[in-house]
Structures are given as structure tokens and as C-alpha cells.
Symmetry: C2
Subunit: 361 residues, 2 copies
DNA sequence: TCACCGTGGCGAGCATTTACGACGTCGCGA
DNA sequence: TCGCGACGTCGTAAATGCTCGCCACGGTGA
């Protein structure tokens, strides 16, 4: 590949001039500029980014680490972050950890090696080592859902409580009292390590249910390990095997909801007549499922913008160490309906009454 | 961030020694090594990748450009490529074009600026400029579905013909004669520019149908522009509006099939009893749809491995300029069934006979 | 004639790697 | 015991491609 010297020689100017032209500075005479441009085109010159960044001493590079790019949710968020970053004059470098703590450390080190000017970490896993490295490097960073903030680190908290509250209230208003929370863990998880978003969502569910104590809401939880849909299906099966009673289910994420729906269908249950289902993420497919899935929406576009804005203000040293909150909303579709007594039959369980349905106003 | 000088000073050695230690060379005395290691740890030293790559004159970096990372299919392929690359000692840099030709050019230039040692381009769009730049730079590359190969460029051709042949034969064996091909274009498409995978798949359909001439198969095609599922739904609506007759539909991609299914449901049609549907990509959700979607599978894992293998052999200069073929397979699930006369009624069209169903053996 | 401005060259970094060479130590043979 | 060569260890310096501050040069206007 041609270097700046080759271009300089061909255009009979110094490398400084080539550099000026390549960077669009206007202090070059038009005639000279044209000569240089011609040489650049002829040699298909592309400035070596390594040399450039080294010389400039800054990179205009943002890093993003996610748990799994194959997950459409992260795909969409990545997309939005990339656009937002580009609009602000930054490039984006992407890494994926496959839910592995070691891979996270590796990815962070690599990002620091690239001297990213800011780093966003949106993973379900997190380790003390990462925190330490990040603190030491003083690289501006943004976490998602990790509680910690510091001088250079901000945190974006997704308001799971709010979203789940809306979902539960909706279900309660529909008359549901026995609500199943379906939780899944990615396969490669070492169980002892807490997985942020998962435990946060679970805690939110438990906390919210407590708020509905007076309505006698009874929570149930099933867990299963594996890739989303499959684990969802198996989890719902397990719930039946364990004779859990429920008239509505909240899935921890949409892919999981997909499996739940499938498991329910396979069992001959109708949705929403027999069981109501609510998802989480409001992914693009919700609308096209059968029935269309009611789901808690995490606004990706807003998230992306928030991440980049936050990162940039951290970089510029103002407002660092904040905790921002991203609101969530329930998007109602057709996968939940009001509880009717007949539905009990389909569960094939004791006819024990759940109390009369609430006034649905 | 600490530089190699800081480490050298703290460990009272030269930078060359630090370099040797950091790169795991064994020509350093254990005592010295320990001192250096301690200094590295203390300062949280991370070698500057820009300086390193510049000095080394090579990058061990593979580039990957896709049309849309938010698309789960690309997400999964990316994942598999990344793993494969890592196994071969390469890093992966990712870019996404949003189906824009200009973005493609930008992305390619950026990759060349990073001096990737190999570049994989898996986009539906392609321009002559990209070809020219790539040829000139002599960077080893792999395309997907672009026909061209050259001294440094290989091509992986996905065997759409084979996959669609299997799909059509399957449908024909089930008695279907009027088959609708549902095609969608991404929004930002300038229509005049040919979109590779889309036109390839369409051509494959037409070619295959011709092979079934003797069975009196009659093809129909609808197109719509927009994001997959939505466009699929609208396309199927349009097909009815235009009074196209069909008993089975093949969607150009799974997200599109999702929309087709949805549109059909909304119209009160049952699947597969009234209309059979076949998707394309065999994405993870097929299995969990209602009904589970029969789809043509493009093996992602194999694709990833193929891309990396091909790239590496191009880099090593052997077997460059090849065209490889990736086979595709029909994964049969429950969204298609044999044609029964009653289904005609649901279309509300003329009772014109389609001839007797084939022997289904 | 002088000051100033527009233009473009010069050279010093930027952080790292690597070839090469210096230095010291050790062993072995005379 | 001395000397020489080999080897292990580490430092020196050049090289990588580019940017940017500074300066020189020539032309223009006052």
C-alpha cells in the first residue's frame, strides 16, 4: 500500500502538504492541491490509521462491548450507538464477550490498547478486575445497569422496576393473581457470578409483586439455562412439571417469550384465552408474533443516544460520574387478556379459587 | 495511560526489554522479567496497538463488512466468523453499511486505512468503485455472492438455486402449482442499483420454476420496500389486491416470512391448511413460530468457517481467486402441507382447477 | 523599503518493535 | 592460570507513516 511519501514524491511536494490536503485543510494552493489529489487517486492512497492516530495522539474512537451481538436487541442498540457516534464525529469499535468474564477482561484490555477515547460496556457480566483496570486507566466509560459510578464512569440504569410495575399492574387489572416469571441464563454462565440484567429484572419483579400484596398477587419463578427460546420453552414445561399455578407469565426477554409461547401452544393452551403472556424488550418481532406479543419496551434509539451523549460529556469532563435512568414502557398488544374462570380448566389443576377478578374500570 | 517508557523506567530496564517481556519472548532473565511484570501490573500498562502495528508492519486483523448488524442472520454469521478468526490468531473489525453504497465505500476505505490483512464483504450492495479500490490495494478479500474473483479476491456463492429447488420441489410434491415469491427491498435502496442477494434469489426462483415447467408450475412475484416483516405483510396484502392466485408462498428471507405469516393470519387464513409458507435463512426463530416455519437453511457456522479459511488461504497466497459454494438445505417444519381442494375457497377466487395434485409418494 | 500574508518545507515527535551490537560471564583447553 | 570464544542478557538506535509547530521564501500592498 502506498504511503504518504510515495504520494509526496509523485506530486512533487512534501509529506506535510499531502497531509494537509488529505485532511482537507484549506491552506494549500488550488493548483498544488489538484496535483496532490491526482497523485492520491492514482496511487489509491489511504492514510495509515495507525500512524495517524499515533501522531495525533488521539483517536476519536468509541468502544462498545456487548454480551452477544447475535442477539437482535444488542444489534439494534449497536446500530443506534454507531449512528449517534458517527454524528458526533466518532468511530465505533465493537466487541462481544459471549457472556464470559474472561472475554470481557480481554475485550476491555484490547479497547484500552486501542486508546479508545470512551468505552461503553453493556454486558450482563462484570468483574472487579474490569472495574480496577478502568479506574486506573481513567478512560471515560459508561455502564449499563452496573451500579458503580466514579470520577470517569457513568451508569445508565434501565428502569426495570417501572416497566415491570406497568406489566404487573396491567395483568392485575386484567384479574390475574398468579403470575409466573420466566427467567433464563445463558449457557456459558458460571452460576455463582451474578448476571446483572437478569438479577435486576428478577429483583424488580419481586419488589413490584410486594407492592401488590394487598391485591393478593402470588409470584412464581422458574429458571432454565440455555439459549433464549429453547430455555423459555423448557422453563414453561418445568413450571408445569413442578405444578406451579399461574394464569399469566412474564418472560425475562422476548426470545424467551417466544419459547414460552411455543411451549404453551405445544401443550394445547390458547394465548391469551388460557394464559396471558408478556415479554420484555419489545423486539421487532413482537408485532408479528401470533398473537402479537405485549412487551415491555426498552427504547433502543434513546438508549443509544444516551450512551453516546453520556460518554461524550464524560470525555469532556463535565457531568462525569452520573447515573442516568432510561424509562421503560409497556406496549400492549394481544397476548394478554382478562382472566376468565374457564381458563382454570385448561391448567388441569385444583379448582381452588383465586378470588374474584378486580374491577377492570 | 502509561507508555512503555514509564514501565522501562520503573523496572530499570530498556524499552526493548519491556517489549520482549510484554510479547512473551523467553530471552529475558527470570528476575528481570519479574521486575518488568511487576511494573506493568503496577502501571496497568497496555501496549499502544497503533504504535505496535505501525512498528510491526502487520496487523493480524481481519475486516468484515455487512449490510445490517441489527439483522440476526448477520449477527450469527459475525459471531461465527469472529470465533473462527480468533482461533486462527486474528482480530476482527466490523462495519455495517445500512445498505448504502456510499457507506460501503467509506467502510472499505477505513478498513484499508487499518491495513486489515484480509477483508470479507457480505453485503447486498456492491459498487464498481469498491472493486477497483480493492484490486488496487491488493488486499486479500472474500465476497459473498458477488460473482467476481481476481488474483486476490475469492467469492463464496451461496447455492440459492439448490435451496430454492428443494423448496419448490417440496411444494410441488405437496401438490402446489401456483407459488408466490415474496421479495422485499431495504428502504434506503436506490432501486436502480442491483441488490445482489435479492436478485440472485429471485433469479434462482425463476430458473427453478422453469425446471418444473412440465408440472405446470406457475410462478408469481410480489415486491415491496421496507423493513423485512412490515414489507412482507404489505407485500402479501398487495398480492391479494392484485388478485394474484397462489396456494403457497416462498419468502425471500425469514423476517419477511414473519410478515407474510402475519398478513395471512390477519386475513383469517390458516397456515398451512389454506396457504403454505416457506422461509429463507432458517433463523433461530423459525422453530418457535406458530406454526413452526419450514425454511431454507444457510449454515452460518459453515459460512463463517468458509470465510475465514478462504481469507487466510488468500492471505497466504495459495488458492486465491477461487469460487466456493455453500450448500443450502430445506428444513421441513409445519408451515407447509399438501394442497387440498377446500383451500381454494379461502382465496375467494375463481374455482378454476389447478389440475390434480401430484402423487406424493 | 518594510511588514505582512499565503504557501509549503523541515524536522521533531508519537509508542512501539527489531536488528544488531555491547558487555559480562562461563567454560574449556593449553 | 590465563586467554579466547560462545552464549546469555540487555541496551541502542533505526524504522514505521503521519501530524503539526515553526520557519523560510517569495510576492503583494502600503
Amino acid at each position: 500500500m502506498a504511503s504518504i511519501y510515495d504520494v509526496a514524491k509523485l506530486a512533487r511536494v512534501s509529506t506535510a502538504t499531502v497531509s494537509a490536503v488529505a485532511n482537507g485543510q484549506d491552506k494549500v494552493e488550488p493548483r498544488t492541491r489538484r496535483r496532490v489529489l491526482a497523485a492520491i487517486k492514482k496511487l489509491h492512497y489511504q492514510p495509515n490509521l495507525y500512524a495517524r492516530n499515533l501522531a495525533r495522539g488521539k483517536t476519536c474512537l468509541l468502544g462498545l462491548i456487548v454480551s452477544d451481538i447475535a442477539n437482535p436487541f444488542f444489534g439494534e442498540v449497536t446500530q443506534s450507538i454507531r449512528q449517534e457516534a458517527q454524528a458526533c464525529g466518532y468511530e465505533l469499535s465493537l466487541a462481544s464477550t459471549q457472556f464470559s468474564g474472561e472475554d470481557l477482561v480481554l475485550a476491555v484490555k484490547r479497547m484500552l490498547g486501542m486508546r479508545v477515547t470512551g468505552l461503553a460496556i453493556m454486558t450482563t457480566e462484570m468483574t472487579a478486575e474490569v472495574l480496577e483496570i478502568l479506574q486506573a486507566s481513567k478512560t471515560p466509560a459508561v455502564f449499563e445497569d452496573v451500579g458503580t459510578v466514579s470520577e470517569t464512569i457513568s451508569n445508565i440504569r434501565i428502569d426495570y422496576d417501572g416497566g415491570i410495575f406497568k406489566a404487573v399492574r396491567y395483568l392485575v387489572d386484567l384479574g390475574h393473581r398468579r403470575i409466573l416469571f420466566v427467567r433464563t441464563y445463558p449457557e456459558s454462565t458460571e452460576q455463582e457470578r451474578p448476571l446483572l440484567s437478569i438479577s435486576l429484572r428478577t429483583q424488580a419483579f419481586l419488589k413490584v409483586v410486594k407492592q401488590f400484596e394487598s391485591s393478593r398477587v402470588e409470584p412464581e419463578i422458574v429458571s432454565y439455562t440455555g439459549p433464549g427460546p429453547k430455555a423459555g420453552q423448557l422453563a414453561i414445561q418445568k413450571a408445569f412439571d413442578e405444578r406451579k399455578e399461574f394464569t399469566a407469565a412474564i418472560a425475562i426477554a422476548d426470545p424467551v417469550a417466544l419459547g414460552v409461547l411455543h411451549g404453551l401452544h405445544r401443550r394445547g393452551l390458547r394465548i391469551p384465552e388460557d394464559i396471558s403472556v408478556v415479554g420484555f424488550d419489545n423486539s421487532y418481532l413482537c408485532e408479528y408474533l401470533h398473537p402479537p406479543l405485549t412487551s415491555v419496551d426498552i427504547p433502543r434509539g434513546r438508549l443509544g443516544k444516551m450512551v453516546v451523549d453520556c460518554l461524550i460529556s464524560n470525555i469532556e469532563g463535565k457531568h462525569a460520574g452520573r447515573e442516568l435512568v432510561l424509562e421503560t414502557n409497556l406496549v400492549v398488544r394481544e397476548s394478554a387478556t382478562c382472566l376468565i374462570e374457564t381458563s382454570r380448566a385448561h391448567l388441569g389443576r385444583s379448582g381452588k379459587s383465586l378470588g374474584r377478578p378486580l374491577d377492570l374500570r
